[in-house]
């Protein structure tokens, strides 16, 4: 059931709330650490080097891999799997779900990914080179590591989950798409607990760096912390990051029954497609996606306190998103805009979920974190309400709208309401 007049008018068994969060970002391995970094202006981008490509910058996570996995599992699985396992275990713990007694056949795992399998394939080919490309040396681990459901499947294996699991391939809209998929499955009663969000291991494939550079869209800066600079006049591209963010989503009646702490309610969402270009965004479709999410939430633009922008730091993409934002929010005096990629880079499949999670604190602390690294605002990106350099006290937010867009013209918007 999709609400068309506001989620709060739906019965409790159709309302979806977030009751747990587990994450790893380049500047924090828990929601608390991440929020603190965003409020204190702490970047997670640093120098990085990868084979064939050489030196660059990236957002690198430093979570404790062995917290939930034996070394044998770490060796066998993928980085995206480990990110998913860490975040999912942390999220379940945070939610207070009685995991030991939970019916694991009623738990679903829905993880968004931008891409999967590039890292593992590059590793095998690199290894094969040492054996004169004799394919009898190709690993039997290649297929289980590269199947598209791998990160979600590793989570299910690790946690004994026997309900449905799969990934949602949605380019850089994947973090929102994972949350939306989880909500849909809860509303269809396909599961009772949805482990949903997004993960990324993308910094471990040289191909993503090389491709962005060939496209003229890879960030460069002498100071890694200042390389990711959405909306700045001198921005020069994307900083690739790894990371993950997993939400525990439940139907409101279940959450109430167990007295769960509720971070927020999914008030509305939308996904649509540009159908115009492989890489260039279409602000008309982006605006339509935001308007559809607002309509489904029963809201008008003026009711949104914070828009978490998608802007990645590319010359064209940031400006185009601002065109769409002006069209939707141009008349709103209340709405503030920020950008989390300026701190951590673009965490690809995790971006939508991480950037949403980073903003949820505003429901309680009333602060909109900033967009850092904007030394000279690009006039094309000058939005009223854009929070630059320093966080801003705005009072407890009521609604947060989270944009997440990706290649092949995929757009996603999620609106979360303070509960």
């Amino acid at each position: 059931m999709i609400a068309t007049m506001g989620a709060s008018r739906l019965p409790d068994n159709q309302r979806v709330v977030i009751t747990g969060i587990g994450l790893t970002a380049p500047n924090g391995n828990s929601l608390k650490e991440f929020r603190e970094s965003l409020l204190q202006g702490r970047s997670g981008v640093r120098e990085y080097e990868i084979r064939y490509f050489g030196k660059t910058v990236a957002g690198i996570c430093q979570f404790e891999g062995c917290r939930y996995q034996a070394r044998r599992e770490l060796r066998r699985g993928t980085r995206a799997g480990s990110v998913g396992i860490y975040c999912s275990n942390e999220a379940v713990k945070d939610s207070g779900v009685d995991w030991a007694n939970a019916d694991k056949s009623r738990v679903g795992v829905y993880l968004g990914v931008t891409e999967h399998g590039n890292v593992e394939t590059e590793n095998e080919i690199h290894e094969l080179k040492n054996y004169n490309y004799d394919t009898s040396f190709w690993s039997h681990h290649h297929n289980p590591r590269t199947v598209a459901n791998n990160p979600a499947g590793e989570v299910a294996l690790n946690m004994g989950i026997t309900g449905p699991h799969y990934t949602i391939g949605a380019a850089c809209a994947a973090g929102n798409a994972g949350l939306i998929q989880g909500a849909q499955m809860l509303r269809l009663n396909e599961c009772d607990v949805a482990i949903c969000g997004g993960v990324s291991e993308s910094i471990h494939t040289f191909g993503i760096f090389a491709s962005f550079r060939s496209q003229g869209a890879l960030a460069e800066h002498a100071d890694p912390c200042r390389a990711s600079r959405p909306f700045d006049l001198h921005r020069n591209g994307i900083v690739v990051a790894e990371g993950g963010c997993v939400f525990i989503a439940e139907r409101l009646d279940d959450a109430k029954r167990r007295g769960a702490r509720i971070y927020g309610e999914l008030a509305g969402y939308a996904m649509n497609t540009d159908a115009t270009d492989f890489v260039l965004p279409n602000p008309d479709r982006q605006a339509e996606c935001m308007e559809l999410a607002l309509k489904r939430a029963g809201l008008v633009a003026e009711q949104i306190d914070i828009v978490s922008t998608h802007a990645t730091g590319t010359v064209s993409g940031d400006a185009q998103e601002c065109v769409a934002l002006r069209r939707v929010f141009g008349g709103s005096r209340r709405t503030y805009f920020n950008n989390t990629k300026s701190f951590i880079g673009h965490s690809m499949g995790a971006a939508g979920a991480l950037e949403l999670a980073g903003n949820l604190g505003a429901f309680q602390d009333g602060v909109c974190h900033a967009t850092i690294n904007v030394d000279e605002l690009d006039p094309e990106c000058a939005l009223d309400g854009l929070v630059l350099r320093q966080p801003r006290e705005i009072g407890k937010a009521g609604y947060i709208l989270n944009n997440s867009f990706g290649m092949l013209g995929i757009n996603s918007v999620a609106i979360i309401k303070r509960f």
């Binding site: 034996a70 044998r72 060796r75 066998r76 040396f137 690993s139 039997h140 681990h141």
Partner: protein
């Protein structure tokens, strides 16, 4: 390689494949799987490592020979004699 050298090499491979296991008390006549956590993919790792490190090819029909340390050393001894 002598049987003792082959055994050392197998331990080295197992340390990579099963890094959480304590291999110091491994009993040579008892099947690996009764002593340490090894599944079919791990056995394939042993086969792959023998291929990569020593160019030893273990055909599928012979996989059962790798059940224990004693049987593995016995099986590999003629194959790794000149190694």
């Amino acid at each position: 390689m002598t049987p003792a050298e082959i055994r050392t090499e197998i331990i080295s491979i197992l340390e990579d494949i099963a890094p959480d296991e304590d291999l110091t008390s491994l009993q040579d006549d008892v099947p690996f799987r009764e002593q340490i956590e090894l599944d079919s993919m791990d056995f394939l790792d042993i086969v792959m490592e023998l291929r990569k490190r020593h160019r030893v090819q273990v055909p599928e029909a012979d996989y059962a020979q790798l059940a224990s340390m004693a049987s593995t050393v016995k099986y590999l001894e003629p194959l790794m004699k000149g190694a």
